[in-house]
C-alpha cells in the first residue's frame, strides 16, 4: 500500500514538474531558445506572490491574478529588450545571457529577501485531503495536477487552433517567410516569452505553497523542468506532462527507498532514458 501511495504522490508531483517544463518547452518550440534563467524566474514568481500576499493580505491563489499578468509582462519586456538581440545562428549569446540573468535574479532576490527560506501561507487548503480507500490525496497536489492538465490542454489548443498558435508555428518554421506574412518576429517572440512566464508564474506560486523556497532554489527547478521536457520528447506538450509524471514517480519511489535518494533517483531515470531513447519517450514526428 505504501508503494502505491508513493506512486500516486509521485504522479501528482509530476503535475508541478510539468508546469515547470511547459514554459521551457513552449519557448524552445517557437524560437529554439533555452532559457537558463527559467528556474530563477519560477522562484522570482514565488517571491512576487509572497510580496503580494503580505502587502495586500490576499490568499496565494488570489495573488495569481496579479502575479500571472505581471510575469507575462516581465517576459515580453525581457524578450524585446534583451533576448531578441541574442537570437541568431550562434547559440552562445542566448545561453550566456540567460545564464547571466540567472545569476542576477538569484543575487537580487538574496539582496531583497535574504537567504531565509520562505513559504506562501495557503491556510487550511494546505492540509486538506480526500480519502481514496486507505490513501489520502492532498487537495493542493490535486489542484496542481489538474491545473497542469488544463494548462497543457490550453497550450495545445492555442498552438494548433488559434491565430496566435499559427503565428508561433509559422515563425518557428521559417522566420523570414513569417515576416513576409506581416508577422513581426520580435513581437511574436515577445508574446511567446510572455506566455512562457505566465505559466512560470503559476508554477512559482504552486511551488511556494507546496514547499519552502529560497533565492537559490531556481537551478533545481530548471533541471526538473528540463528533465521532464527531454524524457517526454522535444516539442510534445503532452509528452512533457508524461515526462513530469515519470520524474515525479521516480523521485517519490527513490525517497521511499532512502530519503537521500529522492533527487538522485530522478536524475538517474533521466540519464537512463537518455541512454535508451535519446529523443525522449514521445518525440514529435517531423514532416
Amino acid at each position: 500500500m505504501d508503494w502505491i501511495n508513493a506512486v500516486i504522490q509521485g504522479v501528482l508531483l509530476g503535475g508541478l514538474y510539468a508546469l515547470f517544463a511547459a514554459g521551457l518547452s513552449l519557448i524552445f518550440g517557437v524560437m529554439r531558445l533555452v532559457n537558463i534563467a527559467h528556474g530563477d524566474l519560477i522562484v522570482l514568481s514565488a517571491y512576487l506572490a509572497l510580496t503580494v500576499t503580505t502587502a495586500l493580505g490576499l490568499h496565494p491563489l488570489l495573488a495569481l491574478v496579479i502575479v500571472v499578468p505581471g510575469m507575462a509582462l516581465v517576459g515580453y519586456t525581457l524578450q524585446r529588450a534583451i533576448l531578441n538581440r541574442t537570437m541568431g545562428d550562434d547559440l552562445l549569446p542566448p545561453l550566456l545571457v540567460t545564464f547571466g540573468l540567472s545569476v542576477i535574479i538569484q543575487n537580487a532576490l538574496l539582496a531583497g529577501y535574504s537567504a531565509d527560506p520562505q513559504k506562501l501561507q495557503a491556510g487550511e487548503i494546505e492540509t486538506a485531503s480526500v480519502a481514496l480507500g486507505s490513501i489520502a490525496l492532498g487537495v493542493m497536489p490535486l489542484i496542481v495536477f489538474a491545473t497542469a492538465v488544463v494548462v497543457i490542454a490550453a497550450l495545445q489548443w492555442m498552438f494548433y487552433r488559434t491565430a496566435l498558435g499559427r503565428a508561433f508555428r509559422a515563425t518557428s518554421d521559417n522566420q523570414d517567410i513569417a515576416q513576409l506574412m506581416g508577422l513581426n518576429r520580435a513581437h511574436v517572440f515577445g508574446l511567446a516569452m510572455g506566455l512562457s512566464l505566465a505559466v512560470t508564474a503559476l508554477a512559482g506560486v504552486f511551488l511556494g505553497m507546496r514547499t519552502s523556497f529560497d533565492p537559490a532554489a531556481g537551478s533545481a527547478r530548471l533541471i526538473f523542468g528540463f528533465e521532464a521536457v527531454i524524457i517526454g520528447g522535444l516539442g510534445n506538450l503532452w509528452g512533457t506532462l508524461a515526462g513530469g509524471v515519470i520524474l515525479g514517480v521516480a523521485q517519490t519511489l527513490g525517497a521511499k527507498i532512502n530519503p537521500g535518494y529522492q533527487i538522485l533517483a530522478g536524475h538517474l531515470v533521466f540519464l537512463a532514458i537518455l541512454a535508451i531513447r535519446p529523443r525522449g519517450l514521445f518525440p514529435r514526428i517531423d514532416g
Binding site: 503565428a167 518557428s172 517567410i177 515576416q179 513576409l180 518576429r185
Partner: protein, 236 residues
C-alpha cells in the same frame, strides 16, 4: 503638371549577399498595373533584388520608394503591410501548417481587397480538396499554387514572384501561367523573375535584363529584339 510617382521605384540600390555585393547602383521603376519581367543569368542579382524590395534585406531608405515614399530600410512585415507580397523562390510553405492555414496566414495582415479563401480555391480548385492536408504532402505544382495563393491572400498592390516555374513539369508550368491573367487582370501589379525568357516575355508588358548586378537592358516585352536580349543576357 508633375507626373505621378511610379508605384515602385528602385534608385541607386547597392545590395549585398553576405560579404559579396550583388547589386550595383541599380535603378528601375514599376508603374501601377504593369507586369514587369526581370530576367538574367544565375547570379545576376534577381533574387537579391526581390529580397531587397520585400524587406528581407535592409538597405538605404531611399533606395526603394513606394509611391514616392522611402521604404528601403523597413522591416519585411512593415513592407508587407504597405501592400507588397512575395512568392519566394522554392515556395517555402510552412511545413507545420496545413494548406488552408498557409493561405489564412497570408491574409494575416487584414488588408481589404478581392482575394479571400473562396477566390483562391476558385482559382486553384485542387487546393480546396486538399485544404486540411499538410502542405508538405502536396506535389511541387500544388505547393506553388499555395505559395501564390498565400501571397494573394494579403490583397497586395504589387506581387513579386521569384522563379515560379522552377523545378516544375512543363504541363504544370502552363497551368500556373494560364492562371496568371486571372490574377493580374484587376489592376494588380506584378514583378516576375523568370529563367524562361520566352515565358517571361509572353506574359509581361515590360522587361529588365540584369547582368552582374546591373541593368543591362530595358524594353517593351513585345518589341524587344532577341539579339538585344542575348547580348544583355550573356554580355557578348
Amino acid at each position: 503638371m508633375p507626373m505621378p510617382d511610379p508605384i515602385l521605384t528602385i534608385e541607386g540600390l547597392n545590395a549585398h549577399y553576405g560579404d559579396f555585393q550583388a547589386l550595383y547602383d541599380l535603378s528601375m521603376h514599376v508603374e501601377a498595373g504593369e507586369v514587369v519581367a526581370v530576367i538574367g543569368a544565375n547570379g545576376a542579382g534577381k533574387t537579391t533584388l526581390l529580397r531587397s524590395i520585400s524587406g528581407l534585406l535592409r538597405n538605404a531608405p531611399a533606395s526603394v520608394l513606394w509611391r514616392g515614399t522611402p521604404i528601403g530600410a523597413m522591416r519585411a512585415d512593415q513592407i508587407a503591410a504597405q501592400g507588397i507580397a512575395l512568392v519566394p523562390e522554392g515556395r517555402l510553405l510552412f511545413p507545420s501548417l496545413s494548406v488552408e492555414e498557409n493561405l489564412i496566414i497570408g491574409g494575416q495582415s487584414g488588408r481589404k481587397g478581392p482575394w479571400n479563401l473562396q477566390r483562391v480555391y476558385r482559382l486553384f480548385p485542387v487546393l480546396e480538396e486538399r485544404r486540411n492536408q499538410a502542405s508538405t504532402s502536396l506535389s511541387g505544382g500544388q505547393q506553388q499554387m499555395v505559395a501564390i495563393g498565400r501571397a494573394l491572400m494579403s490583397n497586395p498592390d504589387v506581387v513579386l514572384m521569384d522563379e515560379i516555374s522552377l523545378g516544375l513539369a512543363p504541363v504544370i508550368i502552363r497551368q500556373i501561367y494560364e492562371a496568371l491573367p486571372g490574377i493580374v487582370g484587376e489592376g494588380l501589379t506584378a514583378v516576375l523573375v523568370e529563367q524562361d525568357i520566352s515565358k517571361a516575355l509572353s506574359v509581361s508588358t515590360r522587361v529588365y535584363c540584369l547582368q552582374e548586378g546591373r541593368v543591362s537592358l530595358e524594353g517593351q516585352s513585345q518589341t524587344v529584339s532577341r539579339d538585344d536580349i542575348s547580348r544583355a543576357y550573356f554580355g557578348v
